[in-house]
């Protein structure tokens, strides 16, 4: 069995890629996918630890996270479609209407 470090290392790499995607990319859909990536990284870490600690808690959290992610995708895509309709763009830097 692979040591848990490997899983965690992969999780960290995935998380960092996701984070960088969120921070760097302007395309809302890419940002979205990056968030999914971060969630998957977190899921991986949970699952790894669940295996490591022989506990079901991590697995249950993964289910929750996947549920939230599914809901988020549904709402997020709806938002993106609506924003595109009004602004004709999904560039996140163009959408700063809520600035203080």
């Amino acid at each position: 069995m692979l040591p848990v470090h490997y899983y965690l290392g992969l999780s960290v790499i995935l998380f960092i890629i996701g984070t960088l995607g969120v921070l760097i990319r302007r395309n809302a859909i890419v940002v979205f996918m990056s968030i999914e990536l971060m969630l998957n990284a977190a899921n991986l870490a949970f699952v790894a630890y669940a295996l490591y600690w022989q506990s079901m808690n991590g697995q249950i959290f993964v289910f929750f996270i996947m549920t939230v992610a599914a809901a988020e995708v549904a709402i997020g895509l709806a938002l993106i479609v609506t924003i595109f309709r009004t602004k004709a763009s999904i560039d996140v830097d163009q959408i700063s209407t809520l600035k203080g």
Binding site: V22, L23, V92, D93, S96, T97, G100
Partner: protein, 719 residues
């Protein structure tokens, strides 16, 4: 005594409250209903009110014939505080009834006279509406005087004492909008009021002393101020206290009876209408002092020191005022000083313990001085009528001296009225001779009795009085010659007209009284002495010598005083008739107004200006007092208290503190702190707002950085 036995005399005593009630009823009727009555109605009611109380006094007198010791009639409980009990109680005895008879009798005659006099006076002064007010005051005055004389205790007497003071104030300033600068009469009234207050202060101190030292001795510790109680307790009180009480009472007497040094109000009081002068300043109010000393004889007889003071004050006043009368030109002022002088005679008499003589002179003086004042009023109005006549006659008017104001009271404007006003002349002559002390008129007997008593009791006072008597005869002679003899000095005097019957009839009655009054106490009969004897018996038994007993008739004194009186009159005749004739070749306005002026020189100026006593009082008392008042009002009250203490210190300090609280503390610290918080948060918010860029990635980055920090922190902490 058959009459009094059949009358069941004692019953009459219960009428005594009516001597006070009748005038009160009269004044109330006139006060509330008078405006519908007209002058005749008002006059009738006032005269009836006064006359009714005189009739009561007569009935009381008749009752006293049967029961000479009299009685005290409690009417109501007035004031009761602890050990002090004051009753409204009437004292009926020969002394009080004598006073009631004088007040009621002479007062009623003056009332009748006043009906006629005021009819002209209110028109002359241009305010007929005051007729009613005059008689309201007049009845009030009679009521107050009756309270004074019928009181059975010192406090009730004091009510009357104050009442007559008030009435004199009201009546003297009756024409309050007339006189010098339009306030002269008001000032005269004020002067009378204030000077009397000084005397009343003495009375009150005496009353307080009485309460303090008599109350512990009173039976049951209940002190009533009753005359009899005071008389009974007086011998048990230390003599020094009695001296103090009697001397303070003397101060009251000097105020009310116009003695030195408080006589100054009486001459000014002539500002009132003439009936006022007659009623208040000859017949009633000013005699209250003499009455008070006679009432307090039990105390005075215990302390010869105080008696001596009273006698000296009286004697000196008699002489002092008599000399001033010589230098006066106002017909009423001469009589005013004469009154002061005659009151001096009375006070001297009661001071020496010759109470009967003093009271006798009081009664006689009431007759002839009222007569003189009223006749003077008749003269004044006669001259005023003459002036009126002259002013309406163009040819006569040109002959009038072009003076701003013609003074109908100035004797220099008169002369030759003997033929113009016959009745007035004759009654005036009788009054003058009675005052001068010519046999057999009223003044002779009473003055003679005083002189006889003085001869036996106090030679210093005798000489003072003898000299005063000479001056009295002289100034009365001077007055009669100036007013009635010679030729008229002015046109109004030449056209003077006799007064109406309503004025002359009271004058004639008073003249008859002045003619015959002396026989009331004719030597060897001593009716009046017997009459008053019961009052003083206690004293005689108390051992203070038989001073109150009548001294026998002394021919030497009688002849001496007659010679002096005749001498005075002759001197006046020589100066004012003979010497005046020498200057007849001169035109009227170049003749000397008074031959004494050139003879006496500065002395006459001194007399004419009344020894400058008013000015002296002005400089010694009034000016410093005014200065002090001014100082207290302006400097202390306004400048110091108001401006400095209030405005500067209190208001200033308050303003200062408020300013500090409002400025630095409220605005600076409290508001500053609040604003600082507000500004701080505003600034913070402004800074924070910049973080709200609206760029999703910025938010994500900050969350990322935050997460790193938190994780870092957790790791470090765990490590």
């Amino acid at each position: 005594m058959g009459l009094s036995e059949t009358l069941n005399a004692g019953q009459f005593f219960y009428l005594v409250p009516f001597v006070v009630f009748f005038p009160v009823i009269g004044l109330l009727i006139n006060l509330f209903l008078g405006k519908w009555f007209g002058e005749k109605g008002i006059g009738t009611i006032a005269c009836l009110a006064s006359g009714a109380s005189f009739i009561i006094a007569v009935l009381l007198g008749i009752a006293l014939l049967g029961q000479p010791e009299g009685m005290t009639l409690p009417y109501l409980n007035w004031i009761k505080i602890g050990s002090l009990q004051l009753d409204w109680a009437f004292r009926v005895d020969t002394l009080s009834v004598t006073m009631m008879l004088v007040v009621g009798g002479v007062g009623t005659l003056i009332h009748i006279y006043a009906v006629g006099y005021m009819h002209d006076d209110v028109r002359h002064n241009g305010d007929p509406g005051r007729f009613r007010r005059f008689f309201v005051y007049f009845n009030l005055f009679i009521a107050a005087m009756m309270i004074l004389v019928s009181a059975s205790n010192y406090m009730m007497l004091f009510i009357g004492w104050e009442g007559v003071g008030l009435c004199s104030y009201l009546l003297i300033s009756f024409w309050y909008d007339k006189g010098k600068d339009g306030i002269g009469n008001a000032l005269a009234g004020k002067k009378a009021f204030i000077v009397n207050r000084i005397g009343d202060f003495g009375f009150l101190i005496a009353a307080f002393l009485m309460f303090k030292y008599f109350q512990p001795l009173a039976p049951g510790g209940v002190f009533t101020f009753d005359f009899q109680m005071v008389a009974e307790l007086a011998p048990q009180v230390p003599a020094t206290i009695i001296i103090a009480i009697t001397l303070f009472l003397l101060l009251g007497v000097t105020g009310k009876s116009a003695q030195l040094p408080l006589y100054v109000w009486l001459p000014d009081a002539m500002a009132g209408p003439t009936p006022v002068s007659a009623l208040i300043h000859a017949a009633t109010m000013v005699t209250a002092g003499v009455y008070l000393i006679t009432r307090s004889h039990a105390m005075y007889s215990l302390v010869p020191v105080a008696q001596n003071w009273v006698a000296i004050v009286g004697g000196v006043t008699a002489l002092f005022a008599a000399t001033i009368a010589v230098g006066q030109f106002d017909i009423k002022k001469v009589l005013a000083y004469s009154t002061i002088s005659q009151l001096g005679f009375m006070v001297a008499a009661v001071g020496m313990g010759a109470y009967v003589a003093g009271m006798f002179h009081l009664v006689m003086h009431a007759f002839f001085k009222a007569l003189l004042f009223l006749s003077a009023g008749s003269v004044i109005q006669g001259v005023e009528r003459g002036e009126h006549h002259v002013m309406h006659d163009p040819t006569l008017r040109k002959r009038m001296k072009h003076e701003a104001h013609f003074d109908p009271q100035d004797m220099r404007n008169m002369g030759g009225l003997r033929t113009k006003m016959k009745t007035t002349f004759w009654v005036y002559l009788i009054g003058s001779l009675a005052l001068a002390g010519i046999v057999p008129l009223a003044g002779f007997w009473s003055k003679d009795e005083i002189l006889t008593e003085a001869n036996a009791l106090n030679p210093v006072v005798l000489w003072l009085l003898v000299i005063a008597a000479f001056f009295t005869a002289f100034y009365m002679g001077r007055q009669v010659f100036m007013v009635f003899f010679g030729e008229p000095r002015t046109e109004p005097s030449a056209h003077a007209v006799e007064s109406k019957a309503i004025i002359t009839i009271p004058l004639i009655i008073l003249a008859l009284l002045s003619l015959t009054g002396g026989f009331l106490n004719f030597p060897t009969l001593h009716t009046f002495t017997t009459w008053l004897d019961h009052i003083f018996k206690a004293v005689v038994e108390g051992g203070a010598a038989g001073e109150a007993e009548a001294v026998g008739f002394n021919f030497m004194i009688a002849i001496g005083s007659t010679v002096i009186a005749v001498g005075g009159i002759l001197l006046a005749w020589y100066l004012y008739m003979r010497r005046a004739r020498q200057s007849e070749h001169l035109p009227l306005n170049q003749r000397p107004d008074d031959p004494l002026r050139s003879m006496l020189g500065p002395v006459f100026t001194l007399l004419e200006n009344k020894y400058w006593v008013d000015e002296l009082y002005g400089y010694v008392i009034v000016k410093p007092y005014q200065w002090l008042s001014h100082f207290l009002a302006e400097k202390v009250d306004w400048d110091f208290w108001h401006d400095f203490v209030h405005d500067k210190i209190l208001v200033g300090a308050y303003n200062g503190i408020t300013r500090i609280l409002a400025g630095p503390i409220d605005l600076g610290i409290i508001d500053g702190f609040a604003n600082f918080l507000g500004d701080g948060f505003k600034e913070l918010a402004a800074q924070m707002r910049k973080l709200q860029s609206g760029f999703v990635r910025n938010y994500a980055l900050s969350i990322f950085i935050g997460v790193i920090f938190i994780i870092g922190y957790l790791i470090l902490r765990l490590g």
